[in-house]
C-alpha cells in the first residue's frame, strides 16, 4: 500500500481536525473492509488513515426508550448478536448478517457501508426503511441528514471536507412495526446484490391496517432509491390486501432505474424488484404481527 500515517484520535473533535487538515489525503478507518481494499487498489493518495475505533462515541450502541444510536464504527456482529436489537430492528439485522462472511462482519459495520455509498450496499436500504438519520460532525459542528438523502451517487455522499459520520440514529419502532430486507444473488453467500429490496410497515393497533410504509431499492440505480409510490400503494390498505401489495411491487419496479451489466439486465432487475418488494412487504407485515 502507498505509505500513510496512522492516527487514532480519542475524540470526534480531534478526528475532525485531522480530516479537515488533510482533506482528500485522509480517510476515516472503521472496519477497513472497503478502505484497505481501495487503498491497495491505489484509489487514494493518502497521507493519513484516521482510525475511528478509539473514539468511544463511534463504537457505542445506545438503545433506550428514545430509540437506537449505533456508532459509525460498530461492526455488524455486535448488532446481530444482540437479541434485543435483532427483535426491534429486523431489517437492519437481515443486512448486517449477510454483508460479506463472518470475517468481514467482525470488522465491517453499517456506518461504513453507508459512507461507502455503493449502489448495491446491503445495509443502506434497511437503514432507510427503519427511518435512520446520519449524525455528521465537521469543522462547523454537527448536523443530521436523513439516510435517504445521504448518498448522492455511486461512492458519493453528502459529507464535506473535514466531516465524518458519528452515528446512525433510529426512532424506537412501535409494537406494530416490522421490516425486512432481501437481495437476489446467484450464490448462497458472499456476493453482491443483483437487486435488493427493504420494506417496513407500521400497522394499526389491531394489526389489520397499514398505517405507514417504506420501500427502498438497492442495486437498481446510482443510489439507493426510496420508492415513495410503492409505500403510497400500501398506506391505508388492509395488511391482507393482496392487490395493494401487488400494486406496491409494480410501483417499486417502476421506480427502479437499473443498468444492464455483468450481474444482470435491466429487465431481470426490474422483475426482481417487483417480486422482492411483494415478498418483503409480506415479511414485514408478518414480523409486525408477531
Amino acid at each position: 500500500m502507498h505509505p500513510f500515517a496512522y492516527v487514532a484520535p480519542k475524540t470526534v473533535e480531534e478526528a475532525v481536525a485531522v480530516l479537515d487538515k488533510h482533506g482528500d489525503k485522509a480517510r476515516p478507518l472503521a472496519g477497513g473492509t472497503d478502505l484497505l481494499v481501495q487503498a491497495r487498489a491505489g484509489r487514494f493518495n493518502l497521507d493519513a488513515v484516521v482510525d475511528m475505533k478509539s473514539i468511544p462515541e463511534l463504537v457505542a450502541i445506545k438503545n433506550d426508550a428514545s430509540g437506537l444510536e449505533v456508532g459509525a464504527a460498530v461492526p455488524c456482529y455486535q448488532l446481530y448478536e444482540n437479541a434485543k436489537l435483532s427483535a426491534e430492528f429486523p431489517g437492519i439485522m437481515d443486512a448486517a448478517s449477510l454483508i460479506g462472511g463472518i470475517q468481514v462482519q467482525s470488522r465491517a459495520g453499517i456506518g461504513g457501508n453507508l459512507c461507502n455509498a455503493t449502489p448495491s450496499a446491503d445495509s443502506i436500504c434497511p437503514i432507510i426503511v427503519h427511518y435512520g438519520t446520519a449524525v455528521i460532525a465537521g469543522p462547523k459542528g454537527r448536523r443530521e441528514v436523513a439516510s435517504e438523502d445521504f448518498c448522492t451517487g455511486p461512492g458519493r455522499n453528502v459529507m464535506e471536507k473535514g466531516e465524518l459520520l458519528v452515528s446512525l440514529k433510529f426512532p424506537k419502532p412501535s409494537a406494530t412495526f416490522g421490516a425486512a430486507y432481501e437481495r437476489f444473488i446467484p450464490r448462497n453467500e458472499m456476493d453482491i446484490a443483483v437487486a435488493a429490496v427493504a420494506a417496513s410497515v407500521e400497522l394499526s393497533e389491531d394489526k389489520k391496517t397499514i398505517k405507514k410504509a417504506r420501500v427502498a431499492l438497492s442495486a437498481v440505480g446510482p443510489t439507493p432509491i426510496l420508492a415513495k409510490a410503492a409505500a403510497d400503494a400500501l398506506v391505508g390498505k388492509s395488511a391482507d390486501d393482496e392487490a395493494a401489495i401487488s400494486a406496491a411491487g409494480v410501483a417499486a419496479a417502476a421506480a427502479a432505474s437499473p443498468i444492464s451489466d455483468m450481474r444482470g439486465t435491466v429487465e431481470q432487475r426490474k422483475h426482481l424488484v417487483e417480486v422482492l418488494t411483494k415478498r418483503m412487504v409480506k415479511k414485514a407485515i408478518e414480523r409486525a404481527r408477531n
Partner: protein
C-alpha cells in the same frame, strides 16, 4: 510528506507477548508473515473474498489482509501456528488430515482458524451452520464437503 514514522506495537501472538516497530500502512497479514515470521497464514486474494489469511483477533475471526498491523496493539492474535500444542495437533487439524480435507493446502490455515472460531463458541454446530460460517473461506480443490465433514468430526470428538 516524508515516509510516515514507524509505530510501536505491543501485541500477543499465540500466547506470546510480542513488540514490533512497523510501518503504519502494512497489513496485519504482512506483520504476521514478514515481521513475526509466522508464515502459516497465507495471502490469497488481498480483498476479503477468500479467507486464506484468516486469523483470530480477541476472539473474532478476521481477514488479516484487511486489518492494519497497528490495529492489533494491545490485542490477542491467534494464527494457525497457535492451534497445535506440545501434546499434538489440534482436533481440527487431526480431523482435516483424517478426512483428507485439503489438497494444495493454501486455504487450509484459514479454514482451520475460522473453524476453530466457530467451535470455540458453538461446540456442536449443524452442517448448515458450519457451511454458513465458512462461507468467507474459499477452497478451489476439495469442493468443501471434506472440509465440512472434518469440522463435524472434530466437533463430534469434543464432549
Amino acid at each position: 510528506m516524508g515516509a510516515p514514522e514507524r509505530v510501536h506495537v505491543r501485541t500477543t501472538i499465540n500466547g506470546q507477548a510480542q513488540e514490533f516497530l512497523i510501518p503504519p500502512y502494512i497489513s496485519l497479514l504482512d506483520t504476521i508473515r514478514e515481521v513475526a515470521g509466522l508464515t502459516g497464514t497465507k495471502e490469497g486474494c488481498l480483498d476479503g473474498n477468500c479467507g486464506a489469511c484468516t486469523v483470530n483477533v480477541d476472539g473474532r475471526i478476521v481477514d488479516s489482509c484487511l486489518v492494519l498491523g497497528v490495529e492489533v496493539n494491545g490485542k490477542k492474535v491467534t494464527t494457525v501456528e497457535g492451534l497445535a500444542t506440545k501434546d499434538g495437533l489440534h482436533p481440527l487439524q487431526q480431523a482435516f488430515l483424517e478426512e483428507a480435507a485439503l489438497q494444495c493446502g493454501i486455504c487450509t490455515p484459514g479454514f482451520l482458524v475460522a473453524a476453530k472460531g466457530l467451535l470455540d463458541n458453538e461446540p456442536h454446530p449443524s452442517e448448515g451452520r458450519i457451511r454458513h460460517w465458512l462461507a468467507g473461506n474459499l477452497c478451489r480443490c476439495t469442493g468443501y464437503d471434506k472440509i465440512v465433514k472434518a469440522v463435524q468430526k472434530a466437533a463430534a470428538a469434543s464432549k
